[in-house]
C-alpha cells in the first residue's frame, strides 16, 4: 500500500517532465498496468498518462488500490472517484464523457457559435 502510493506520487512528479516518461511506461509498472486495464475497459487507446497517474493516486488515497471495473469506468468518464461520500472530483473538463457526448461540451466552456442550439448538431 505504502509503496504503491509512493510510486503513484513519483509518477505524477516524473510526468511533469517528459524525461521520466520512457522509464515509467514499462509494462511491469503499476501505472502502465493501470493504463492497460483502463484502455481495455474504456475502449479508448490514447488515454492521457498524466490523468491516469492522477486518477490512480486518487484511488489509492481513497483506499481503493484495486478499483472495480465500474468504479474505474466512472472515474475516466466522469472524472469522479466513486467511493466514500463525498465523492472526489479529480477532473471535469478532461472527463471522457465529453468525447462521447459529441453534441455538447463541458458546461461552463463556450460551446458553439451563437444560435447553433436552434438546430440539430452537425453530424
Amino acid at each position: 500500500m505504502r509503496r504503491r502510493t509512493l510510486l503513484a506520487g513519483c509518477a505524477t512528479l516524473a510526468l511533469a517532465g517528459s524525461a521520466g516518461l520512457a522509464v515509467l511506461l514499462k509494462p511491469a509498472d503499476p501505472l502502465q498496468r493501470f493504463i492497460n486495464r483502463s484502455e481495455a475497459l474504456t475502449g479508448m487507446s490514447d488515454l492521457d498518462p498524466k490523468l491516469a497517474a492522477t486518477l490512480m493516486a486518487a484511488f489509492e488515497a481513497d483506499n481503493q488500490p484495486e478499483p472495480d471495473d465500474a468504479a474505474l469506468l466512472t472515474a475516466w468518464y466522469s472524472g469522479v472517484i466513486v467511493g466514500e461520500w463525498p465523492w472526489q472530483q479529480v477532473t471535469y473538463r478532461d472527463a471522457l464523457i465529453w468525447q462521447v457526448l459529441t453534441f455538447t461540451h463541458p458546461l461552463g466552456v463556450c460551446g458553439s457559435a451563437f444560435g447553433a442550439w436552434a438546430d440539430p448538431p452537425e453530424a
Binding site: T42, G43, D69, L73, Y77, V100, H105, F114
Partner: protein, 542 residues
C-alpha cells in the same frame, strides 16, 4: 472615534436594485456603495465551478464564514429555520449580488399582477399600476440588454421594441412547440432574457456555455457588475467586504449614519444625505430590525409591523423525462422558451398562477453533474462501445420542464432576528418562519397534471415528477410597498413611510409575487425611484 466617510448617497448592497439608480445619479451626487461581500473574479469562480463535485448556484462563490449566505442543499447553513417548512431560497453577498448566478430571464409582470385583490380577491393590490410602470420596464430592458421578440407581448402591453433581437429557441423548444400546437395552454414562446444576441454594452454574444446558472464565462449574460462598472467610472465608490451593522437616526426620523464593520473587525461610519437600502429580501429587513433603538424599539421603518413579514418565493416543480426522438440538450442558454399564458386567468381566485419553463439543461438539474448517469451505466455492466452508445443515446433525449408558481403574501411568513445566534459581525442570524398554503398547493397540483399531459403529448417516457416543491430563490415581500403607512413599509416611490431619506429597493418591496421572475421588475422599480431619490437629495439641505 472611527473613520467617517461622507457622501451624498449611501447605497447599502451592490446588486441590481442599487446599481441602476447609481448610474443615473453618479454625475450629480457623490455615491458610496457599502457591500457586505467581496468582489468576484470570474476566472476564479469558473475554476471553483469546474472542480466541484456538486455544482450548486453557490459553488463558484464560497462566501462563508466572512460573507455568510444561504447554500443550496444546506438549509441551516445561514438561516435559523423556525418552520413549519424549511425556507430554501438562496442569495449571494458579493459585488454584483445574486445576479452572478441568475438565469437572465427578464419577463415583465402582467397588468393583473398589480391588482390581485381587485381582480381575484386575493392578496393585495400594488400602489401603482402596470401602465404607470410600463415606461420604466422599457428603460430597464435597455439597461439590462434584454433580447426578445416583440411580436408577442406575452400579456404585458409594450410601447417600445426590445433593445436586442431574440435569442433563438433551442431545437428542444421547437420539438415542444410543435407537439403542443393543439394544446390550449398557450403557445411556446422565446423567453425575453438579459443575454446578448448581438454585442451590447461592450459584452459579447452568448457562446452557448449552458452554465448561465451559476455563471456565464464571457458575461454575455448581464449581471449587476455592468452598471457598477459604469457607476464607478462616473466616480461612485464601492466599499466591498464591509457589513453595515446598524443605522442611526436623527430626531426628525432621518437616517444619519451607517455603522460599518469589516471582516477583520475594524469599523467605520458612512454619513450621507440619503440612504438606499438595497440588500435584498433577507438582509434589508434584518438590518432594519437590528437597528432598533429607543426611538424605534421595533426597528426602523416598522411602524406598520410589516418589516420582515410577507416573505414569498416562487415555488417550482420540475419534471424530467426522455423524449421520443433526440433533442440534443446541454446546448445554448439553460432555458430559451416557456409558456406564459398560465401566468394569469380567473383561476387566480382559487389557485396560484404559474409559468412553464422549458429547459435546455436536460437532467443536469436537479440530478447534478453527469457522474450519476455515468455511474449508473457502468454499474449496469455496459462496457466499451455499448457503454458509450448507451450514454449518448440517453443523453440526447434528456428533457425537463418546470413550473414556477406565485405565492400569496402571508404575514406569518417572516424574517426575525435569532438573537441567540450571532454571526461573525455580532449581528443575529436571520430566523425564518415559512409555510405554503392551500392556494399554492392547488397551483402545484394543477401544474403537476399539466406536466403529465405535456409529456404525454410529446410521447416522452421515463417520466419523473419531483415531489413537493423547490425554491426559485426569488425572495420577495419583506418590506412591502403600499399607500397606507399602517400596513406597508415604503410608499409607491419606495421611500420609507417613517424616514424621508431612506429608500428601500429590491423585491422586498413587492406586495405580491406574480408568477414571473422578479429581476426586470426590480430594475424597473429602481429606475422609477430615481426621480424621488433625486428630489430627496435636493431637499436634504433644507
Amino acid at each position: 472615534m472611527s473613520e467617517v466617510i461622507d457622501c451624498d448617497l449611501a447605497i447599502i448592497g451592490a446588486g441590481v436594485a442599487g446599481a441602476l439608480p447609481a448610474v443615473e445619479l453618479a454625475d450629480e451626487a457623490s455615491i458610496v456603495f457599502i457591500e457586505a461581500g467581496p468582489r468576484i473574479d470570474r476566472h476564479t469562480a469558473l475554476d471553483l465551478y469546474w472542480n466541484a463535485l456538486v455544482k450548486t448556484p453557490e459553488t463558484p462563490y464560497p462566501g462563508a464564514p466572512l460573507y455568510p449566505h444561504p447554500i443550496a442543499g444546506r438549509n441551516d447553513a445561514w438561516y435559523v429555520q423556525r418552520g413549519p417548512e424549511p425556507f430554501r431560497a438562496t442569495y449571494l453577498r458579493a459585488v454584483g449580488g445574486t445576479t452572478w448566478h441568475w438565469l437572465g430571464t427578464a419577463l415583465r409582470f402582467v397588468p393583473d399582477d398589480f391588482r390581485l385583490a381587485t381582480r381575484f380577491g386575493r392578496g393585495v393590490d400594488w400602489p401603482l399600476t402596470y401602465d404607470e410602470l410600463e415606461p420604466w420596464y422599457s428603460k430597464a430592458e435597455a439597461a439590462l440588454g434584454v433580447a426578445g421578440d416583440a411580436t408577442d407581448d406575452l400579456g404585458s402591453p409594450r410601447q417600445q421594441p426590445f433593445p436586442l433581437p431574440p435569442i433563438p429557441m433551442s431545437y428542444c423548444d421547437k420539438v415542444f412547440a410543435e407537439a403542443l400546437e393543439d394544446y390550449d395552454i398557450g403557445p411556446v414562446r422565446p423567453t425575453p432574457q438579459a443575454r446578448n444576441s448581438i454585442p451590447y454594452q461592450d459584452r459579447p454574444v452568448c457562446c452557448g456555455s449552458a452554465s448561465c446558472i451559476p455563471l456565464c464565462p464571457v458575461q454575455a449574460k448581464w449581471d449587476a457588475t455592468v452598471p457598477l462598472d459604469q457607476a464607478e467610472a462616473k466616480g461612485a465608490r464601492i466599499l466591498e467586504s464591509s457589513v453595515v451593522v446598524g443605522l442611526e437616526t436623527a430626531a426628525d426620523g432621518r437616517i444619519t449614519l451607517a455603522l460599518v464593520q469589516r471582516s477583520d473587525g475594524s469599523r467605520f461610519q458612512v454619513r450621507a444625505k440619503v440612504f438606499v437600502l438595497a440588500a435584498h429580501g433577507i438582509e434589508s429587513p434584518r438590518l432594519l430590525l437590528h437597528s432598533a433603538s429607543e426611538r424605534y424599539p421595533t426597528g426602523l421603518a416598522n411602524r406598520s409591523d410589516q418589516v420582515g413579514r410577507n416573505l414569498m418565493d416562487h415555488l417550482i416543480n420540475h419534471s424530467s423525462a426522455l423524449s421520443k426522438d433526440p433533442v440534443w440538450p446541454y446546448r445554448g442558454p439553460i432555458s430559451t422558451a416557456g409558456i406564459e399564458r398560465p401566468r394569469s386567468g380567473s383561476f387566480r381566485a382559487e389557485r396560484s398562477a404559474y409559468r412553464i419553463e422549458i429547459g435546455n439543461d436536460g437532467w443536469a438539474w436537479p440530478a447534478g453533474a453527469f457522474v450519476w448517469a455515468v455511474n449508473d451505466t457502468a454499474q449496469a455492466g455496459l462496457r466499451d462501445e455499448a457503454f458509450k452508445r448507451a450514454l449518448y443515446d440517453e443523453s440526447v433525449r434528456h428533457i425537463r420542464i418546470g413550473c414556477m408558481h406565485e405565492q400569496l403574501p402571508n404575514p406569518e411568513n417572516r424574517i426575525e432576528l435569532a438573537t441567540d445566534q450571532l454571526d461573525h459581525y455580532g449581528v443575529p442570524r436571520p430566523a425564518v418562519s415559512y409555510r405554503i398554503g392551500d392556494y399554492e398547493r392547488a397551483g402545484l397540483a394543477a401544474s403537476h397534471l399539466q406536466h403529465a399531459e405535456i409529456f404525454r403529448r410529446i410521447g416522452a417516457t421515463d417520466v419523473t415528477h419531483t415531489q413537493g416543491y423547490f425554491d426559485a430563490g426569488h425572495i420577495m415581500g419583506t418590506a412591502r410597498m403600499g399607500k397606507d403607512p399602517d400596513s406597508s413599509v415604503v410608499d409607491r416611490n419606495l421611500c420609507a413611510h417613517d424616514h424621508k431619506n431612506l429608500f428601500i429597493l429590491g423585491s422586498a418591496v413587492f406586495p405580491t409575487s406574480a408568477a414571473a421572475n422578479p429581476t426586470l421588475t426590480i430594475a424597473a422599480l429602481s429606475l422609477r425611484a430615481v426621480g424621488a431619490i433625486r428630489e430627496s437629495l435636493g431637499r436634504s439641505g433644507d
